[in-house]
């Protein structure tokens, strides 16, 4: 008998949820300072977006999450397997392997990470649809999509008709993800890229900062306003070169993670470093 379809009884009474005064379950980032910024970590039942230019650490953070999700709940993990959907081949296996040595308590962590490549936005939607039956029987509690912007880049041109179609697909995908997040209590992390903002243009302000800066460039998240409405929380990773010490030729890279918008977090940011493959927050 085909047990893969659950009869989703759409009785409105079933949609009424009892609110209990227990905070939403979160997945730790593996660092107490970063967890502090996020009031516990990446929340379940919602979509968290990480926006950054390349080289800022977004893939690093997502790999870290694939491991921390496996930690027991008592240590802030989700005690579960993770799913990594990636659009940029190849899969960063070596980095993951190196990072897993920072989590010695996990046995065979790579066994608990499922991966699947993505070719396009439509492909993503198909994969998510197929996931429904799989999620019923599998203890997946974290889905990472790396990255969302790349999926849309090839299919859609920058004209009104395509953009409108693209928006439609945003809502379809995010709607599917949110439904699965709700049904299975998943934490969903979506990686997004940045696009440059022309200095003289009136950028649309979204969130806590008039504009976002990284590498001394003014940027904004890719995919525009429609997509911004599709995520519950947006975090921005950035890096800046700063003069180190008295020697004006030496520079060092400083990295920051900032809350752009979140329903439960104030406007805040935190500096972090990548040491020995692991990402750690820095105290002020």
């Amino acid at each position: 008998m085909n047990q893969t379809r659950i009869t989703h009884l759409m009785k409105p009474e079933n949609l009424l949820q009892q609110l209990t005064p227990i905070p939403t379950q979160k997945c730790t980032l593996g660092c107490p300072i970063l967890d502090g910024l996020l009031n516990g970590g990446i929340p379940c039942n919602s979509i968290t977006e990480l926006v950054a230019e390349s080289g800022c650490g977004k893939t690093q953070i997502s790999l870290q999450l694939l491991l921390t999700a496996q930690l027991p709940v008592s240590l802030g993990g989700l005690s579960s397997t993770s799913l990594y959907l990636y659009s940029e081949s190849p899969f960063p296996l070596r980095r993951l392997h190196q990072l897993s040595s920072s989590f010695p308590t996990l046995k065979n962590p790579l066994d608990n990470i499922l991966t699947h490549p993505l070719h396009s936005a439509h492909h993503l939607f198909d994969v998510l649809s197929q996931l429904d039956s799989f999620l019923l029987s599998s203890p997946i509690k974290l889905i990472v999509i790396d990255s969302i912007a790349a999926l849309f880049r090839f299919e859609f041109e920058n004209n009104p008709r395509d953009l409108k179609q693209r928006s439609g697909l945003f809502f379809k995908i995010s709607s599917k993800l949110k439904e699965q997040a709700r049904r299975f209590g998943l934490a969903v992390v979506v990686i997004n890229q940045v696009v440059d903002v022309m200095d003289d243009s009136d950028g649309l302000r979204i969130g806590n900062s008039a504009c976002l800066y990284t590498s001394e460039r003014k940027v904004s998240a890719a995919l525009g306003l429609s997509w911004a409405n599709c995520v519950n929380m947006r975090l921005f990773l950035s890096r800046n070169e700063e003069v180190a010490g008295d020697d004006c030729f030496a520079t060092r890279t400083r990295r920051f993670i900032r809350v752009v918008f979140a329903p439960h977090l104030p406007d805040s940011y935190c500096e972090f470093v990548i040491t020995g493959e692991k990402i750690c927050g820095l105290e002020r």
């Binding site: 759409m10 009785k11 409105p12 009474e13 949609l15 009424l16 949820q17 609110l19 209990t20 005064p21 227990i22 905070p23 939403t24 009031n39 929340p43 039942n45 919602s46 979509i47 009104p160 953009l163 928006s167 709607s175 949110k178 439904e179 997040a181 709700r182 649309l204 302000r205 979204i206 969130g207 806590n208 008039a210 525009g224 306003l225 429609s226 911004a228 409405n229 995520v231 519950n232 947006r234 752009v260 918008f261 329903p263 439960h264 104030p266």
Partner: protein
């Protein structure tokens, strides 16, 4: 008696402007409609309950009707050593008394018809839910009005969900503190409602109430605030919907849920609309949806400040007001703040 002046900013005025002004009867004397409110502060002795229950109530210190409204039935049961059922019966009877005090005893020739005068009276007695930002309440005519549909639109991160949660908490403010002592139905289509944030906002609301408690007139000082942040969660009926079909099902189901002071505040999304070569911000669901809403409020950024703009309203004119989102919830914008420091 706490001022619950219907059509002005009284509620938030109390909390944010000069407290001294709020304390005494100046408002009462000036407003005849207060007379109805005054009678709430009446002896419990005239309630239609058994003599022994009445005696227990009075000796327990519950002499005024309004003292019953800020405590739960289980608290009364414990306090007076009566059964839960008896306590609930007392509250039920007291509510009925309060409700009948408020009604204007309308007559109508045709069932369902009302004279314009009656409608005006009813409108003036409409509850309004404060937003906890006095400037915002001012331009709204006192707060979000009940029995009307208000649409609130804005970009992500501007504070729509924050305002929604603030309203879901503020609607529960007890009558003693100028609130509606109502409940909220929260239909969440985005999954942005976070319990921990609701608890934070509820805690701040209680703190504000406790701070105000010191200004209450003596006869109400017996009414301690026994509420806790988690009590606010019980009165928020939370529906999580993921599709428009679910939303329709819930809205139809709501009819069973609707009670006296029901109102609907809808959270809408903003998107860009391409018209005539220019990108304009417009509310996502478009004009046909907008016709279904009585009021429309648009939240937007002006520099680094958040502003609200009344785009459509039958009763107040278009205006803007700054507000801010703080750890305590929606509050006045910092630069506009003339808060009197509470001791």
């Amino acid at each position: 008696m706490i001022c619950t002046r219907k059509n002005t900013t009284c509620n938030s005025t109390i909390w944010e402007k000069d407290k001294k002004e709020a304390v005494l009867g100046e408002f009462e004397r000036e407003n005849p409609e207060k007379a109805g409110q005054r009678r709430l502060v009446m002896e419990v002795s005239s309630l239609p309950i058994s003599a022994s229950l009445r005696a227990k109530l009075i000796s327990g210190g519950y002499t005024c009707l309004s003292s019953l409204f800020s405590v739960s039935s289980s608290h009364i049961a414990q306090d007076l050593k009566i059964s839960e059922n008896e306590a609930q019966e007392i509250l039920r009877v007291a509510s009925q008394r309060r409700a009948s005090e408020r009604s204007n005893g309308t007559t109508s020739m045709v069932n369902g018809a009302q004279s314009a005068w009656e409608m005006l009276n009813e409108e003036q007695s409409l509850g309004r839910i404060i937003t906890s930002c006095s400037e915002l309440d001012d331009i709204l005519g006192g707060g979000i009005s009940c029995k009307e549909v208000t649409e609130i639109g804005g970009v992500p991160g501007i504070g729509k969900t924050q305002l929604g949660i603030q309203l879901a908490v503020n609607v529960q403010i007890p009558m003693d503190y100028g609130g509606l002592q109502g409940k909220a139905v929260y239909i969440d289509t985005e999954g942005s409602f976070m319990v921990e944030r609701a608890l934070q906002i509820a805690e701040a609301c209680l703190e504000d109430m406790r701070g105000y408690h010191g200004f209450l007139k003596r006869d109400l000082q017996g009414c301690q605030i026994n509420m806790q942040p988690k009590d606010f969660l019980e009165n928020i009926f939370y529906f999580r919907v993921c599709s428009y079909t679910e939303q329709i099902a819930v809205v139809n189901y709501l009819e069973k849920f609707i009670s006296e002071h029901k109102d609907v505040v809808l959270l809408n999304q903003v998107t860009t609309k391409y018209t005539e070569g220019q990108y304009q911000l417009t509310l996502a669901l478009g004009d046909s949806w907008s016709h279904a809403c009585t009021n429309r409020v648009i939240l937007y950024w002006n520099g680094n400040e958040r502003y609200a703009y009344i785009d459509k309203s039958p009763s107040v004119r278009s205006a803007t007001a700054p507000y801010s989102v703080t750890g305590r919830g929606i509050r006045s914008s910092v630069s506009n703040c003339k808060r009197v420091k509470m001791m």
